[in-house]
Symmetry: C2
């Protein structure tokens, strides 16, 4: 009997009250039916999260920078193994606490619309195509391909969610139909069509007046209607109460809950669904609708093998957690997540460098390895530790400045001079700067009180700007390592430093992976999943959800580093050989024109040449070409065929990079 049928039969045995009880994320047991309690809330954005020891992979934005869907699938497979291993063990104790289950509220496939959004680093960047590709790889890795699902993936936050964090509980995003489909819904649709995610999480905000978790348009019409979604919808935590309390669309929790369930939101993170019985009694909700919702939930639990004894994933042992294989995979992903943005030849570091200064507030900070929604690694290497472990010479470490506070407190340490001394005494300086997950994060995370997790601008803090200038004055070669989950204005670093590396929040193996790149043990291949702008002035108002002048697709100005940008220690040349519009494939010849081996991350863009398209560029395909020095190889790349026919009309041409 299939899971759907079994779910129907099981739910049919429940009373109305029992059904309603199952629609809360912390669902109680129904002992008479042999149904144990279950807490639906788990997280695994870049590793099994908030449940102790785990392999902590690079933050999502960093993994997106790998542009490597195969590797992403391997990573997600490792993650779901660890989630399962934990679940299997917790189950032995009958535990049903938060972060112990199989239903993961990951990935975050929102579009990183504006670099000021604090949660942007949880996403795969600004491009719907890349987001769809990485999202699918991640979902498939989480869910597995067995008879049962290994874990449930939940794509979030549906939809049009990208700040401001401070206003998320009351914000109404105004979006055109074009932007809605081309930008905000595109990856959701793609993932649903190609990876069958078990669940969708509704966002806090409104879209065009309707609350996302209770929106007829978004849920009933588009998600279940147009997109043919067949899973369950869960609300973001507290989002249903927001409908009456903050969005003021309803008067009571009961009304909010009824509106949500009627439009397809089966599961409530929060407490609003405690009022569902009131809603039924008031005639706001009928039992058939409830039944349908609960059937979806039990189909999912059954499909996860929770009620069977032959689930192939029950045997995943605890020992997989942070095992050697996963740690090696993590290091590989971290290596691929690093994006080389500038290099005047100082990198890879030469053997002649005997003394290194490692300077900056992010050099020895564990929090920047971990990002947010993270687990706890039992072993990790900070940037400092990673470089030290890889380098035989003398290392001078100096924090140099507070990460954002420029105040020279009377009786506090004044770290600047030590940094200058360290630089002066060294053959080269690795400057580890940028942000941290306390400076860009979720509502409630942020140090920057007024911004509630969002960034006020894209500048480096003044404390770091001052440190950079002092270090530059020493005249030493400076490698600027920017640690951040978002675009930071790196104009000054680009202008004045010898090399610039963007390393995002690189996970537990971050320091080791950075060292691999700096010393040339691996050749960088990461590409920017977001545009690096030159100035906050380049951005439309943060609250404006119109995509005009946002992201590489619509930005009319000159970016410092465009989307898709990323250097190698070698160079590559591309020749387009063939476009097969029907098969949605292109053939490209790639040549390693340099003197060292390396892997080219091939990005296939449509570039607008003329015509009505609002897009300037559109990423339609990505591929990887590992090439020895001097080697040429032909590769086939599957592409998005939407506008491929227009190539012949001359509206678009195919290019391999976004020009600045």
């Amino acid at each position: 009997m299939d899971f759907k049928t079994r779910a129907k039969e099981l739910v049919a045995k429940m009373t109305l009250a029992e059904k309603l009880s199952q629609m809360k994320y912390d669902a109680p047991a129904i002992e008479r039916l042999g149904i144990p309690a279950y807490n639906w809330w788990n997280e695994c954005l870049h590793g099994a999260a908030r449940s102790g020891m785990a392999t902590v992979f690079p933050q999502a934005i960093g993994m997106a920078a790998s542009f490597d869907t195969e590797l992403m699938h391997e990573v997600a497979t490792a993650i779901s193994d660890e989630v399962r291993a934990k679940y299997n063990e917790y189950k032995k104790f009958g535990d049903t606490l938060i972060y112990q289950g199989l239903t993961c509220w990951s990935p975050n496939i929102n579009i990183f619309r504006d670099p000021r959004w604090g949660r942007g680093h949880e996403t795969y960047g600004e491009d719907p195509y890349l987001t769809g590709q990485m999202g699918c790889a991640f979902i498939k890795g989480l869910q597995g391909e067995g008879k049962y699902r290994k874990t449930d993936a939940t794509i979030k936050h549906y939809a049009v969610h990208s700040g401001p964090e401070k206003e998320r509980h009351s914000f109404d995003a105004q979006v055109s139909e074009y932007d809605l489909y081309e930008t905000y819904l595109s990856a959701f649709r793609y993932c649903i069509e190609h990876a069958d995610p078990s669940a969708v999480m509704g966002a806090y905000n409104r879209v065009n007046g309707e609350a996302c978790c209770a929106s007829k348009t978004l849920l009933k019409d588009i998600l279940y209607g147009e997109f043919g979604f067949d899973g369950y919808v869960v609300s973001d935590c507290g989002a249903i109460c927001d409908i009456n309390k903050n969005h003021k669309l309803t008067q009571t929790e009961a009304e909010s809950a009824a509106l949500a369930v009627n439009n397809g939101c089966a599961l409530n993170c929060g407490s609003a669904y405690a009022h569902l019985m009131t809603a039924v009694a008031a005639g706001l909700l009928d039992e058939d609708t409830v039944t349908e919702a609960v059937e979806r939930l039990f189909e999912a639990r059954l499909r996860l093998g929770m009620f069977d004894s032959d689930c192939e994933y029950d045997a995943i042992p605890y020992e997989v957690i942070e095992c050697e294989k996963h740690r090696a995979l993590n290091r590989k992903m971290a290596q691929e997540s690093m994006v080389l943005l500038k290099n005047n030849g100082v990198l890879p570091l030469s053997d002649e460098i005997k003394t290194l200064a490692i300077i900056g507030p992010n050099a020895d900070d564990v929090s920047v390895l971990l990002g947010n929604y993270n687990g706890t690694p039992s072993r990790y290497s900070t940037l400092l530790r990673g470089i030290q472990d890889a380098f035989d010479g003398q290392v001078y470490y100096a924090k140099g400045c507070h990460i954002y506070d420029s105040t020279l407190h009377d009786w506090a340490e004044h770290p600047m001079r030590e940094a200058i001394i360290a630089a002066q005494k060294s053959d080269a300086v690795i400057l580890c700067m940028g942000l941290n997950p306390g400076m860009e994060g979720e509502e409630g995370d942020g140090f920057n009180g007024d911004y509630s997790g969002d960034k006020p601008d894209i500048e480096l803090p003044d404390s770091q700007k001052a440190l950079l200038e002092e270090i530059l004055k020493t005249g030493k070669p400076v490698i600027f390592v920017n640690v951040s989950g978002s675009c930071v204005n790196l104009s000054r670093a680009d202008e004045a430093c010898d090399a610039v590396v963007q390393c995002f929040y690189p996970g537990a193996e971050g320091g080791a992976a950075l060292a691999d790149v700096l010393f040339g043990r691996v050749n960088p291949q990461g590409r920017l999943p977001v545009t690096f702008y030159r100035s906050t002035k380049d951005l439309p108002p943060f609250e404006d959800y119109n995509m005009e002048n946002r992201t590489y697709k619509y930005f009319g100005g000159s970016a410092l580093y465009p989307f898709g940008y990323g250097l190698s220690y070698t160079s590559f040349a591309h020749t387009l050989l063939h476009v097969d519009a029907a098969a949605q494939r292109v053939r490209v010849s790639v040549k390693n024109t340099g003197t060292v081996d390396g892997t080219d991350t091939v990005c296939v863009f449509l570039k607008k040449v003329c015509g009505e398209s609002r897009e300037r560029y559109r990423l339609i395909g990505i591929g990887k070409a590992p090439l020895a020095a001097g080697e040429t190889r032909e590769i086939e790349i599957t592409v998005d065929g939407t506008h491929l026919a227009e190539l012949e009309k001359g509206e678009y041409e195919i290019v391999f990079a976004v020009e600045n």
Copy 2:
């Protein structure tokens, strides 16, 4: 010309205003006399502090537990090398900021009177003799034995200072003459007589009504009079303003400042001495007194070689900072600082142990390595990291609980179960518990708001008690590692765990050193520098400075682990061979009666047998006896001769341990 004469000549050229300007800790330049600005405030309690990269040795209380004065001298020599190396470099830039100078406000030789005092871990424990011994070794190491002083040591806080932190700016410690001399002043006198410290820092509190930094009794009569101190006195920071603001002994800053200078306090940390000119104008202070104070200060600066070009320490290179030699020395000190309190044979860990659970909130916390008044290590091993690096088998790490918060927050991680799983899956459990420097510290440090850095009691937090019980239920061998700078009630651990190790705040090499002990690569030799009581009820009121019923000397109850206690992986037997009262020496035969090599820390106590003495015990000598298994050796130990003659009267006898 000697430094004193040169100082006189230099000060003679100054105007009154110039002289007064030099009595502030942030003394300005007097350009016409070629005197550069100088900031007197530096710290080096257990390593060059608050000035960036440094070898961070175990916190003072841990170094005291080594009972190893020779090693302490080596450590202090390394510390002063690092302070000098930094100074030499800063000097090239003309820098005169805080924490860049040569005048170190260390060591803290207060008596750790009550385990609730938050700053107790800065001290060498509860015993005046041990404090004097360790203090002298430290001072000599800091100051060197050259023509110039390498750095200035400042013994603090003079006097009778040990909490409550919250009331320190207004507290009046009531002390009997007996306790004053026997307990509170003893180590100050000893250090002044044997190690010639350059400076003394006055405490915040009053003693018997007089403010310490301006006390005729403490400064003029006792310090400069009785003890023959010949250096300078500096106030604790803001302590002079306290005299009028909080102690209410004077009306104005000018009066406070005059009172302090008149009684011998030459240097002011704070701002009160800005009012000295007012004091002189008002006739509260005469210029001769000022001149004498400023001469003391310039004698010190001259003696540090600041005005000469032939100082032997100017050549100490920057490369000594955290050099391999210092790191090795640090590891040795950390090894010696560990005190084995219980061992049923589980330690050292056998080769048959293939899987280890490392559990607890202190397992992977860097802050507990560092204590307070610390520098920044560029390399360090947390307890977890140290054990992992030393162990080839599988390690399961679990934090297990918050270090003090027992609240199970709704949407937060619940770490207990993972800890139980880790224990169940392992052959043995290393439980890393205790406190951290945020829970016991200085006024303003503490998380425990109401206590301002002090501890409310000597209990483990409830969160950890609950974790301990859960881990014990697994039935696995449990090694309880207590990380704290003070006595914690370890009764339950002693009763129920297989081994108990006290590791204090063990410095940058703490994890490596702990692993050395756990795996038997070194044999522990540390001894408790404080009594470990069984209950807060064993203690007199915290505010009570009467020593009755405090410390091993006067405590009438049964301690869990007495002062001087500490096990080895072997056993030792002692035979007193000879007492030479005149020469203040005893000869002891020590035999290693066990099967492994080890070093015995020989403690020579006088034990009261009868008569009038208020002391029950009195430590009078310490020695180290490295012995191969089965080896016997005679050692000579220099002892405090004060009561040695009374041995013959039968009032005391010599013993080698405090009985419980």
